[in-house]
């Protein structure tokens, strides 16, 4: 069983590693967009299980949360002065006006992901409300710091 877990971990790392590698190059706007893409994909892994589109898999949930924990921890590093515009950025000026709050919120997301990863239940019905609570971190921050799209 332990071997399976290690294998799964290695597999997860090999999937994430190249993306993370690419993300370090490029302009900060591109890097942060890539980081957030990955957060969206990881969220989708969990969300699609809850929508009944894929089978609930606690191990895959833990891996997805690992991506969010890692990306959210470094996300605010990619908002240097001078990167306020360009590359179709949807970052609002509020990020630079309230940098401390922005960084704190991203840290909170990272720790919330770590905490949830340590408490993922075997049963999807038990996970659903936990995911709902966790996902408040997304809109809570997008509300203040990201342009409403299209």
């Amino acid at each position: 069983m332990k071997a399976v877990r290690i294998a799964a971990g290695v597999l997860a790392l090999s999937l994430v590693w190249p993306l993370a590698g690419n993300a370090q190059d490029g302009e900060p706007q591109e890097v942060r967009q890539q980081l957030m893409e990955e957060v969206g994909d990881a969220t989708g892994v969990m969300g699609n299980m809850l929508r009944g589109r894929t089978e609930y898999d606690p191990q895959a949930v833990i891996e997805a949360l690992g991506v969010i924990e890692a990306n959210a921890a470094v996300f605010p590093d990619y908002f240097p002065e001078g990167s306020e515009t360009g590359f179709e950025t949807e970052a609002l000026p509020a990020i630079w006006e309230n940098k401390a709050e922005f960084e704190e919120r991203s840290d909170e997301l990272s720790s919330a992901a770590a905490e949830l990863a340590g408490a993922v239940p075997e049963d999807m019905d038990a996970f659903a409300p936990m995911f709902q609570e966790f996902s408040r971190n997304c809109s809570g921050c997008h509300d203040d710091f990201r342009m409403s799209d299209d």
Binding site: G47, L92, H142, S148, D150
Partner: protein, 303 residues
Amino acid sequence: MLKRILILLIVVLSAGAATLWAIAAPSELPYTAFEGLSDPDVANGQRIFAAGGCASCHSLEAAGEEGDDDAPPTLGGGHVISSQFGDFRVPNISPSDAGIGDWTFRHFADAMLSGVAPDGTHYYPAFPYSSYALMDIEDVNDLWGYLRTLPASDNMVAAHDVPFPFNVNRAIGLWKYLYMPEPNRVTLESADPMLARGQYLVEAVGHCGECHTPRDVLGGLETDRWLAGAPNPSGEGRIPNITPGGDIGEWSVEDLAYYFESGFTPDFDSVGGSMADVQRGLAQLPEEDRAAIAAYLKAIPAR
């Protein structure tokens, strides 16, 4: 002869002006509108409150104060809506002396359905009564009952900052004459009650068109481009086109309903901007209401 033409002209012009003046008069609801109303159903009032997203403008959190998402909202007002016509300060509508504590239901119904204040003046349409005018008075009654249960706030909100000529109150009456809606914004082919419910929630209570439909130079909704997207009044980005011809044209009814419930798009981007508050309200609705809104959005003309 010339003198007579001049007199005639003056008569015609003043008759026209008098007619316009009369058209622009604030008119309250007739007494008959209140017949047969029973005690408010507070639970339904709360549902209407969530669908209308009242808290997203009127709560103290909207004005930037810290608050608890799980506690009943305190509707102390103070949020500023900036527009090309001036800055509108959202009023305190909590049950206190600084709010609407001394109102009767008649005052509230006239405000919601006619856009008329207790002192008989017009409200600015920044308060979206041109959508609420489509609401059933029973729901307004229930909403009133729910509002009375919410915490009081002593927050005093300053007056609107609206320059001439937009501060001429009577002129708002002409605006109402031009833009207060016919019974519905769009005509649907089907008489499906679920679609009708969705239409009611979107066009009346939810007042979605106020942001998602473009406006003409006088600030009236361009109903032939209903829900086709518009510049964001905050100046950042655009409010999306939510007709089948827009970005969400490929979303299924289930995708839409899931977005309203969870705040996630089909590719798990999350809701942002002012829609985040709206979605928090939609998440509190019964599932059938979210499904009805989704069905309506799939049924309206693509723009």
